[in-house]
């Protein structure tokens, strides 16, 4: 395997020198037959297709169902590396929940002047309907998926805090299931921490967040899906199945006796906790988008009255908004009194004159993003831009600096994949999954590693040729 000089490779930090967590795997691999491995890889694909772990592609002939490519080389993380990530994630998630409570109640952080008011007042992710709502158990983000990238031995950065409805956990579980079936011998040689308890933990975590007012003996949990045509339907069904919860759609639900209830073969059954995979805007046509066919009219009223738990709470998007991201270290300090354990990607807010000067001077090395943009629109990738594009962007930047933030282009670490010629390094990121209940924060050891399968590419999104890998966190 050839080592790329400019990027940190998680297997071969320096050429020829295998890093500790990968030593056992590397020796095993050396003795494997490439042909056999490639066959295994094909088996894995057939397996994924049979169980139906596909995502739908809209706008294509008869809603094409695609597989996300799976690479059979695991990404391996050492115990002490994970321990640090875990502490950092927990700190971050606790601060985010404290922030959400505050921002929808007294707004002390604004009064204290720690973040500018405009950041909230002018932000579409702020959900006024959440003002004064007390979520059962005080939990806003029951499920989070924190996106991390690595650039060096000790350098992890948080790229995004996904606290709306993060997806991908079914891939974490199915990837592991597949690896266990294909390479049982590896699991006997290495102490890989299991991820399989996630659905039971999710169930318990959601049950622990149930409202006190429930008329049920045991909390009734259901998963709300937009339906079988949603791109993440597989995951919705998978999680409901694994948790032993009902999978419901809008037309299964009604308001009954002041609660949300689902229509069963024997009448209506009251739901205590709804793990909803429907976006805020569609959740309640009586409160938000009146044309929504995916939501439950009146559910926000039931929520405000304290008769149901919504996971995640509506309005959590204000905490993972791009404009707010650069203030996360301040937010962590404000609510926990501690320094942030995990680093943010350095961000220049162009609204600040010094930052703007720096950005203008280094435009060709930076990524500049619109504060409220998403999906890569209105973005400048300095190193890839032409002189003309740079000049045009500079003009926009000078005209309305407050509309932009800038970040350095990150040198994402690489992990090998199985290519035709054997192992080849590709860029990766990592999304660990976090569960928050009134009593605790639990982080499943592992997560979803997304990998850019194209050589040199830094884009790991599945919609653009990205694949996934199993992520192994080693025990002590």
């Amino acid at each position: 395997m050839k080592q790329n000089a400019t990027f940190f490779d998680e297997m071969l930090a320096t050429p020829g020198d295998v890093r500790d967590p990968y030593k056992v795997y590397f020796d095993w691999f050396e003795n494997e037959d490439l042909k056999r491995l490639r066959r295994k890889s094909e088996d894995a694909e057939a397996f994924f297709r049979r169980i139906g772990i596909t995502f739908n592609v809209y706008g294509q002939d008869e809603a094409d169902e695609r597989l996300i490519p799976f690479d059979i080389v695991p990404r391996i993380i050492a115990a002490r590396e994970w321990a640090k990530l875990e502490r950092g994630i927990e700190q971050r998630v606790r601060a985010i929940n404290a922030f959400l409570y505050d921002i929808y109640h007294g707004q002390e952080i604004l009064r204290a002047g720690r973040i500018p008011r405009e950041l909230i007042s002018g932000n579409e992710a702020f959900c006024p309907e959440m003002i004064g709502v007390n979520p059962p158990g005080g939990v806003y983000t029951h499920i989070c998926g924190v996106d991390l990238v690595r650039t060096g031995e000790d350098d992890f950065f948080v790229l995004e805090d996904n606290v709306r409805t993060p997806s991908g956990v079914s891939y974490m579980l199915e990837n592991r299931e597949t690896m266990l079936q294909m390479f049982p011998e590896l699991f006997t040689q290495l102490k890989v921490r299991p991820v399989s308890a996630y659905p039971q933990r999710l169930r318990r975590s959601l049950s622990d967040s149930a409202p006190a007012s429930s008329p049920n003996d045991k909390p009734v949990v259901a998963v709300l899906t937009p339906g079988i045509h949603n791109s993440a339907y597989f995951e919705h069904a998978f999680l409901a199945d694994q948790m032993g919860a009902e999978l419901v759609e809008s037309h299964d639900l009604q308001i009954v006796d002041g609660h949300v209830a689902m229509r069963t073969t024997q009448g209506y059954q009251i739901i205590d906790v709804l793990y909803r995979r429907v976006d805020d805007a569609y959740l309640d046509p009586l409160t938000f988008n009146p044309d929504s066919m995916l939501g439950v009219p009146g559910i926000m009223d039931v929520y405000r009255a304290g008769n149901i738990t919504l996971a995640n709470a509506p309005g959590t998007g204000i905490a993972d908004d791009k404009a707010l991201y650069s203030y996360l270290p301040d937010i962590i300090e404000f609510y926990t009194g501690e320094q942030a354990i995990l680093k943010n990607v350095p961000t220049w807010r162009c609204s600040e004159p010094d930052a703007l000067a720096h950005v203008l001077a280094n435009l060709k090395d930076l990524v500049v993003k619109e504060v409220h943009g998403s999906g890569g629109y209105g973005m400048l990738v300095g190193p890839a831009a032409s002189k003309k594009e740079l000049a045009a962007f500079e003009k926009k930047l000078r005209a309305k600096p407050s509309n932009y933030i800038a970040q350095p282009t990150l040198s994402l670490s690489t992990v090998p994949i199985l290519s035709k010629a054997g192992l080849a390094p590709r860029h990766v990121d990592l999304r660990p999954f976090v569960l928050v209940s009134p009593n605790k924060v639990e982080i499943t050891p592992g997560g979803l590693t997304r990998v850019a399968l194209k050589k040199g590419s830094l884009v790991v999104n599945s919609s653009q040729g990205g694949g996934t890998k199993d992520t192994w966190v080693l025990g002590d």
Binding site: R50, I51, G227, I228, V248, R263, T264
Partner: protein, 314 residues
Amino acid sequence: MMLGKTAGGLFWMFRYLERAENTARLLEAGWRIALTRSSNSENEWRSIVTTAGMNVGYEEKFDSYTAANVINYLLRDKDNPSSVMATLDQARSNARMVRTALSSEVWEATNECWMSIKAELARPVSERNLHDVLMAIRFRTSVVRGALHGTMLRNDIFCFSRLGTFIERADNTARILDVKYYVLLPSAAYVGSNIDNAQWEVILRSVSAEQSFRWLYTGSISPMMIADFMILDRRMPRSLAFCYNEIGENLRLLEETYGTRQPCQDQSDAICKLMRGHTVESIFQHGLHEFLGEFVKDTTALSSAIEQNFRFYG
């Protein structure tokens, strides 16, 4: 506890699977006739399409009944919402919807059934590979049934699945008989020609019962025997009596599970009672066509009563 929608999804998933299988059997019977008889195959194909209930749509698209057109229309034509492919699409959609109620073996069998038949039907089916395609359909749907029997709990999930299967099957057998009822009339027996023997064979073949019929009835065959076999014989897994026996049994199990008797169970019991009170002679006296017509109507009414009583829809 089960969602009403889930009960409905299971019911329809198995109705559609049964329907796909029945259409394949019907085509097989038609194909057999076309192979063994040279003249007037157009009439045979028409009667196959009519039995499948797709003649209106077919005639909008084609002027004549030819083997190639009928085969492709019934199996895979995009303009035919009841084609085997469309029916399997529906079965799988319902299976996806109720996935949390299915064992992984049943889900995977259903998904594999859909994937492999979709691949088989991706291109036009020629007379040469028709046999293989029909075999594949029968085989794949059998695997789903096998997985259902081998891996599912005998609870309400199983009951709704079976109700879907037997409502569809009862309806299908009754329709086959009704389209061909005239060849079963006593007067037809006197004709005693080969044509009628061939017609009887189509009837038996389209429910894959020619072999079991031969085991039970040796010597001279009369249309009355065929009618008796297909309507009242409880040993025969596609007879109307057999289907209603199963429907009654599954509704009884639901009553036991839920502790409530639903009105649809009275309807089902009434139909069972009616069947037990009949002999094949009394049916012919009553009028075979009338009997079948009422049976189809009652079965449709029972199906919608099940939908309502168990809250399939909001």
